[in-house]
């Protein structure tokens, strides 16, 4: 979900109380399609303490079809197959990991 500005149409993800473009405070909720293209990516080998069990892992920034950009981990594709501009979709992992970070999260995968 994202917030769509009622005045200028700007899509805000994450939602905010004040529009970054026109300072309006009038928003409505919009469900995002969850599809988009990869703007850039990296494979992280040296990670923070809490992510060491996952390293190396791939993260990227997606440009969603609805407009906003979103960073996240890329799963289900080998790093050498990843290309800037490739189609990706947002998926949700509803399982809660036994180790930190112990909450469900979204990730990106090929459609």
């Amino acid at each position: 979900m994202a917030a769509k500005c009622g005045k200028c149409g700007n899509m805000l993800l994450p939602p905010r109380p004040i529009c970054t473009k026109c300072l309006s405070t009038d928003f409505k909720w919009v469900e995002l399609k969850g599809r988009g293209k990869l703007l850039s990516y990296t494979v992280i080998h040296v990670s923070p303490v809490q992510f060491q069990s996952l390293a190396p892992y791939t993260v990227g920034i997606m440009e969603l079809e609805d407009g906003p950009h979103l960073p996240g981990m890329i799963r289900g594709v080998k790093p050498e197959k990843i290309r800037v501009g490739m189609d990706l979709k947002v998926d949700f992992d509803t399982s809660i990991p036994a180790q930190w970070p112990m909450w469900p999260r979204y990730f990106f995968r090929p459609p």
Binding site: P14, T20, L39, S40, Y41, T42, V43, I44, H45, V46, S47, P48, V49, Q50, F51, Q52, L54, P56, Y57, V59, G60, I61, H69, L70, P71, G72, M73, P79, V84, G85, P101, R105
Partner: protein, 368 residues
């Protein structure tokens, strides 16, 4: 050694360079950059450093803007002088980092990135700059080798700086084959985890003559802010804050990029130096890699960049970096840079970036 001890060393040198100054009497306030409490489990840095510099009970302000903390402290000092509130102030910065493990430092530094989306997905600082590097390579054809050449150049300069953290030359092959930290960035694309401190004494031009025959004038200052999340910004291949801060500082100084004799830019990663060339107008967007390859920014080039060795070789004690850059410009403009001296340098620039580009400060200096 604690950060406060390192800071006292820097203050001592600053006092020695102003023999006519009575620090305890003449310095009216301290503005100090310090990024994180986590490294030494120590907050409330302002008065602590005032104490260790022997300046009690003078007022202190600690400023935090990630890696641009002391660039911002320098601006705060400028404001204090220009407002007429103070005649003489000290600005500086400190960070003590090497006693922590690399994963710990990686985590502490990541606190200067967006928590809910970036840290939450394990995106590190090398990771953020790697995202910029991948985008720059894709859009402009910038190569891993061009980035590695930045490291080779800065290590060459650092080997000539007795205060550099890593005073050794490296080969292109060594840089290219070093272990991957966050692809496409390898170990030698990353700046160092360093302990360090830096200090400057600021005053009005008419008072400066009392304390030194070789003052350096700050003729331009600029700063800008952007969203903390890299993903929230319009473009990944440029730092808008660097462009805006640069434009502001150039305008105030009345100089153009071609007028600069030297520059210290924020090479926290090699790609950051390439982007800085473009943002500061040393070349057109996308041409930073070629500018490096042509040797224009080498010690004997048209505009030597990071003569100190930069964050890459001199080191990056994050809170100290902004004023450490200004210190190098001071040394160059006053002919004290020894084996790395750029002959006849008159105008210099320092460019200090916080985080992945939510803050940047740019200052322009002229020999007095």
């Amino acid at each position: 050694m604690y950060g406060r001890e390192i800071f006292a060393e820097a203050a001592k040198e600053a006092f020695e360079k102003c023999p006519n100054l009575d620090p305890a009497k003449d310095i009216e306030a301290l503005f100090v950059g310090h990024m994180g409490e986590s490294y030494e489990h120590q907050g409330h840095t302002g008065p602590t450093l005032t104490d260790w510099a022997g300046l009690l009970p003078k007022p202190a302000m600690r400023l935090e803007s990630a890696c641009a903390s002391s660039g911002v402290a320098l601006r705060a000092g400028i404001f204090a002088i220009l407002s007429g509130m103070h005649d003489i102030v000290m600005v500086g910065g400190v960070e003590k980092m090497t006693h922590r493990t690399t994963p710990e430092v990686t985590e502490f530094l990541a606190m200067a990135s967006d928590f809910p989306f970036e840290q939450w997905h394990g995106i590190t600082f090398p990771g953020l700059y790697a995202l910029m590097a991948t985008a720059h390579m894709h859009k402009y054809g910038t190569t891993e080798e061009q980035m590695a050449l930045v490291a080779v150049k800065n290590h060459h300069n650092g080997a000539l700086n007795p205060k550099a953290h890593m005073q050794k030359e490296i080969t292109l092959e060594k840089a290219m084959t070093s272990r991957v930290i966050a692809w496409p960035l390898k170990l030698y694309d990353c700046s160092l985890i360093t302990d360090g401190a830096s200090c400057l004494i600021l005053t009005r031009p008419d008072l400066a003559k009392k304390f030194t025959d070789t003052p350096v004038h700050i003729i331009g200052s600029g700063q800008a802010s952007d969203a903390i999340g890299l993903y929230e910004r319009d473009e990944l291949t440029t730092l808008k804050v660097g462009r805006l801060a640069g434009q502001e500082a150039y305008k105030m100084a009345g100089v153009k990029p071609k007028d600069l004799d030297i520059a210290e830019v924020h090479d926290c990663f090699t790609i950051a130096e390439i982007i800085a060339y473009e943002d500061l107008g040393f070349c057109k967007p996308g041409k930073g890699g070629s500018l490096m390859e042509e040797g224009a920014t080498a010690l004997d080039g048209e505009i030597p960049v990071n003569t100190s060795g930069g964050l890459k070789s001199k080191g990056h004690p994050v809170g100290a970096t902004g004023t450490a850059q200004a210190y190098e410009i001071y040394l160059q403009l006053t002919g004290q840079a020894e084996r790395r001296q750029v002959s006849g340098a008159e105008i210099g620039l320092s460019h200090n970036v916080g985080g992945s580009g939510a803050t940047a400060t740019v200052h322009v200096f002229r020999r007095g």
